[in-house]
Subunit: 355 residues, 2 copies
């Protein structure tokens, strides 16, 4: 029996790719890089590593339809959160489902909205993480070997040298400033925190019990109702009692004996228009274009035109243009983070419809 | 009896303000600067100068609806061109209508798609032109006193000093290069050619007869059918025989004894997005915005959002953004002339629908 499972967390509702990404159409459901949604790509890159019917998706109940559009009827493999309460409760809920059916379940927790190249290397890395987690009983994170001093990612500080199993983890480091990021890159011994890890599901539940007792109690009540007619009511009644906190803060930072397996594949959290421009196919002038566009003397631009809209641009170097039916974004790539400010300004003016 | 008429030429189909301006929705029918279309503003600024029912519009037959939307039922005051054949035939056709009803008719020929500020000064100038044309029998152009060395306009070279009647015209000068434009501005004695002039309608027809005999013959055949059941058929049969040429080339350059009256009012042909940005009301940061927009740290931009579309932009200096339902334009203001290239590129790809 293959006891390997994957839980893909698809509940995020980021608006960093607004106006393309919206509250009700978050980036994991969008075909951002190729013709597949990021979610679909996240599942497909697990091919060969574990059975398709052991891939689970956890997300808001209202996203079941979008998930089933991508994967067909999912049944119990779609695990619905009654409300978003960050990743610790979300992962705890998924683990309750897994151990209900298989107390020995091993699980890879994976984000739905990242982009990975070099998929064979990704699969080898995940294979190593499964092996280490299975043999050792440890929680094993997959960190990315940094290629530049990014200030957009959190870091994993390693404790010693990598051997053929992996390397022990010393600490989680918050997103650094530019100087600290450069120092870490120079010093070595740091990985980007990609939010991917492998563990026995029961180990994660045990850590939650130890570190987040109230949340654990709520999750146990929910887990006890799985398979009964009371499940929905129990979920609704108790999920809100879970502490809304990330798995990093709530569990990983103080978990016993966490290890890392360094990932040497291409990886991006596609966390901004600028980042999207880096992972998309580009034309000879460096423009990453999706949809209908006429570009004259444009270089290194990220252009996204929704169906039915044509973008025409000239003499632009390094700009973002995202054109949707009701909103158009234009800014320099280096200003990609200001999308949030723009959206906030619009919401302040009562434009909740654009969220 | 007031024998003063105005003929507003509304047949142009420029796409220099694409994607807002389209073949079927040219700029004269758009509320570009304030809430009125340029055409409506062109008519309203004649208030007090001549009776409303002596304002005629000449345009393609398919634009009657748009014209009547602006002005109410126009009857014979809407003069339909069966096809666009540049301004000489268009003006000749209008003059046939005017002399049919009133052989003594004086006419001001005015473009529908320009923007004028300082309207009282405009009216005084036009009044002077009517007076000079009436008294002298001359063709009298209204030229604009240049405010900068524009390379986007043609020029009128004056022949002597202005007196209280006006000033004789020596020559029409094509759009100059930057050096020539600066020389003309420094030297003085030049006006911008605004395409506005006043004459007895019969004088214009006489000049057409002298300089463009074939066109004159066609126009006479059409004029002879006015009021008869054959008019439409005659118009269709003969208008195509008119030479497709501008009034400047076809008539004005070689007309006898043309005079000019210098106009000291604000004037723009709104011939580009850049020009539109100069005539529109601007916010404290110099942004000329129409429609819904959120701008953060943007200066001197021209932003146009069609109803139902919101433009969001940050960190832009001197850019044009025009967002319509099916097309979005983004370029630096100084690249405004490249709209043509972009549209050509799209049409080459079979996108006639965007024209």
């Amino acid at each position: 029996m293959n006891n390997r499972h994957a839980v893909i967390m698809a509940g995020g509702a980021g608006t960093r790719l607004w106006p393309l990404g919206r509250r009700e159409r978050p980036k994991q459901f969008l075909p951002l890089v190729d013709e597949r949604s990021l979610l679909k790509a996240s599942a497909e890159r697990l091919n060969g590593l574990l059975p398709h019917d052991q891939i689970h998706i956890v997300a808001g109940a209202d996203q079941r339809e979008a998930a089933e559009k991508a994967f067909g009827v999912m049944g119990e493999r779609f695990i619905a959160e009654p409300e978003g309460r960050n990743t610790a409760p979300c992962i705890g809920l998924a683990c309750q489902w897994l151990v209900h059916h298989d107390p020995s379940a091993m699980v890879a927790i994976l984000p739905a909205d990242h982009w990975i190249t070099d998929e064979p290397i990704f699969r080898d890395t995940l294979e190593r993480a499964f092996e280490l987690a299975t043999v050792s009983g440890r929680i094993v994170t997959i960190g990315i070997v940094p290629t530049h001093p990014s200030t957009g990612y959190g870091y994993l500080q390693l404790d010693g040298e990598e051997d053929d199993r992996g390397v022990p983890l010393r600490a989680f480091i918050e997103k650094p400033g530019a100087i600290q990021a450069t120092q870490m890159l120079t010093a070595g011994g740091y990985l980007w925190n990609a939010g991917m890890f492998v563990a026995r599901a029961q180990t994660l539940l045990d850590e939650i019990e130890r570190q987040m007792p109230a949340t654990s109690q709520a999750l146990k009540a929910i887990g006890g109702a799985i398979g009964s007619a009371d499940y929905d009511a129990t979920l609704k009644a108790h999920y809100g009692n879970c502490q809304a906190i990330s798995i990093d803060y709530g569990v990983m930072e103080n978990a016993d004996d966490v290890w890392a397996v360094p990932g040497r594949f291409g990886w991006s959290d596609v966390g901004s228009w600028d980042a999207l421009g880096d992972v998309r196919p580009r034309d000879a002038n460096g423009n990453a274009t999706k949809g209908e566009a006429a570009l004259i003397d444009c270089t290194n631009c990220v252009v996204d035109a929704a169906p039915g809209i044509t973008v025409a641009a000239a003499d632009l170097e390094g700009y973002v243009i995202s054109a949707t039916k009701d909103a158009v974004l234009v800014l320099p790539r280096r200003s990609s983070q200001r999308v949030k400010e723009l959206l906030s300004a619009l919401i302040k003016e009562g434009r909740e419809d654009l969220k």
